[in-house]
Amino acid sequence: MAEQEIKHKHDTIIEARNVFKDFFVGKHTINALADVSLEVRAQDFIVVFGPSGCGKSTLLNVLLGLDQPTAGEVIIRDTKIYDLSDDARAKFRVKKIGMVYQMSNWIKSLNMVENVAFPLIVAGTKESHAIKVAHRTLEEIGIDDLSKQPPTQLSGGEQQRAGVARALVTNPHIIIADEPTGNLDSTCSDEIMSLFFSLNKVKKKTIILVTHNQSYWDIGTERIEMKDGRIIKDTAHGLAGS
């Protein structure tokens, strides 16, 4: 029997309340998310896992403000994000959340540092200042020497590092990553996951990360298992749920 625990904490920064997400395919209704509730506290590192089609990516998209839930609310830092307009929500997202995807997509006409600076420029920063910040971020990640290269010419690991840098450039409190190591070999994957670990422990970032890779399930402070659109196990501080 599926169970979920909801912990109410004083420093909750993301909250999903009774979220449903249905997709309509012809006459059929697919319940991608069914009554999902979640609280994320500051500096949590939440690892989300489950079989393909269980709703992990849908949950992330709903939390990111990309996919309006059929029912329920998402509150990020006291803002009900689905009460905002599309453009306002996009601006909110870029300032509050850094995103890392399995496949890093790039703006091909820009070099790496310009791509990394892009979210900052969209947020309203002048390009010259955004580039400086991007260089600093790339230095922290350790790949500033590649800043003038077109991103598509970098290796998978380097691109994913650049993707993390892009997620960090606006200095968000929250990072959401969807299968960031999905296309990488084990060595690169370990490096990327170490990076996320360091971002949580040292930079105090709140991280929600989806991964298929079982070896990473215990890297975080909390583990959420999903199945058929529901959270079936939600553990905190490494404790297994029942």
Binding site: L64, A90, K91, N105, K108, S109, L110, E127
Partner: protein, 401 residues
């Protein structure tokens, strides 16, 4: 979002696929240059024809003569009556004599014009090439202007050296102007050349009427009447014609020529427009394909916070850039083609003995209008792709991945 960054991104996106951008630009350049070339050709020909027919005062000058009348005499008394007509500003008279000029063992017939003043030449649009116009007052040998044909007859190599030289001709009074009713020749009449006008018609000499009193001519061949207001031209002509005189108004001819050339311009411009429409379709195709190739990028930009308006502006900017660059290069290329065509034409014209002319005219307002049209075409072509881009759903793209 930093507007300069949007401009930079749009420019970089065009540079990313250089060959595609260049080919699209070539299409626009061909269309724009065709319009510029053809319309400026039409305008140039129109100006050339109009200037050959009339000077700057085409709409204020009425030519007055006796036509075929044997009865009406255009003498001082009649001129005085015409001067009294309301709306007339000034009258210049001219008497057409004949003449013979010699140069060593060569001789030639010349036209000799006795004019009331140098103003007649100004009104006739004669340009002084060397020297000066006829003086108002003179002493000594009568001053004369000759045309470039006559100057070439006298000194083919260096016509300007004729200024100040004395020239002796025979003046022939035609029977129409003669009080005796017969032709009369007055040999060995000396003039001092004070100026040369640009005119390749038959050799001609102009001098003040006062220098021909010995002929006894008491009638004029023609009057040049300047009016104050072109709207009064018809009324004044009727009043002049009431004295049995014939009038010609260049303004009528110029107006008809301009009507003709308006149609001519439209026809030529339409050909250019066809080329431009084809280019426009090519540009639309390029922009739409560019959007389809960059769907993921557009989704990414929106995920990272770029508003729908900024996405739309980005694609519109790319389209306007194509229009702008195509417009500038197209105008330059059209003007270059015109210069090349003009040079080739003039090469053959000069070889055949004619003078070099300019058959292309690039009216500043026209060039600005073409550039504005190019920008507008870019904008219009970009509307669909840019709106389509702004409607890309980032989620659909992510799900597809």
């Amino acid at each position: 979002m930093d507007r300069l960054f949007v401009l930079k991104l749009a420019y970089r996106n065009l540079l990313l696929h250089k060959m595609r951008t260049i080919l699209t630009l070539i299409g626009i350049v061909i269309g724009i240059s065709a319009v510029v070339f053809l319309v400026s050709f039409s305008t140039g020909i129109q100006r050339l024809v109009t200037s050959q027919i009339s000077g700057a005062n085409a709409y204020l000058l009425i030519d007055v003569g006796t036509g075929d009348s044997q009865v009406v005499k255009l003498n001082n008394a009649l001129v005085a009556k015409v001067k009294e007509i309301a709306g007339i500003k000034q009258i210049e008279t001219v008497a057409d004599f004949g003449g013979k000029a010699k140069n060593s063992d060569k001789s030639t017939d010349i036209a000799v014009f006795a004019v009331s003043s140098g103003t007649y030449l100004d009104w006739a649009g004669k340009k002084i090439q060397y020297g000066q116009n006829l003086p108002a007052n003179q002493a000594g040998s009568p001053a004369a202007l000759i045309n470039s044909s006559y100057a070439t007859f006298l000194n083919n190599k260096k016509p300007e050296s004729l200024i100040g030289q004395k020239e002796t001709i025979d003046v022939i009074l035609p029977k129409e102007l003669s009080p005796t009713g017969t032709d009369q020749t007055f040999a060995g009449k000396e003039f001092t050349i004070v100026g040369i006008v640009k005119d390749d018609a038959s050799p001609s000499l102009y001098s003040n009427t006062a220098n021909f009193t010995y002929t006894g001519a008491d009638v004029f061949s023609q009057l040049e009447v300047m009016i104050n207001d072109r709207t009064q031209a018809d009324t004044i002509r009727k009043e002049i014609e009431a004295y049995g005189l014939k009038t010609d108004y260049t303004g009528d001819t110029v107006g008809q020529i301009q009507q003709f050339f308006k149609v001519f311009e439209l026809v030529l411009g339409s050909f250019g427009l066809i080329a431009l429409i084809v280019a426009l379709l090519g540009m639309f195709n390029t922009l739409t394909i560019s959007l389809l190739e960059r769907i993921k990028e557009v989704a990414l930009m929106q995920i990272f916070g770029m508003s729908k308006r900024d996405v739309r502006n980005l694609f519109l900017t790319e389209a306007v850039f194509l229009g702008l660059f195509g417009g500038i290069i197209g105008i330059a290329w059209g003007m270059t083609l015109g210069k090349i065509a003009n040079t080739i034409l003039n090469y053959f014209a000069v070889r055949a003995g004619s003078e070099a002319v300019s058959i292309f005219y690039y009216a500043p307002w026209f060039i600005i209008a073409v550039l504005a049209a190019a920008l507008f075409i870019g904008f219009v072509t970009g509307l669909y792709p840019s709106n389509r881009a702004s409607r890309v759903s980032p989620l659909d793209v992510l799900r597809y991945e």
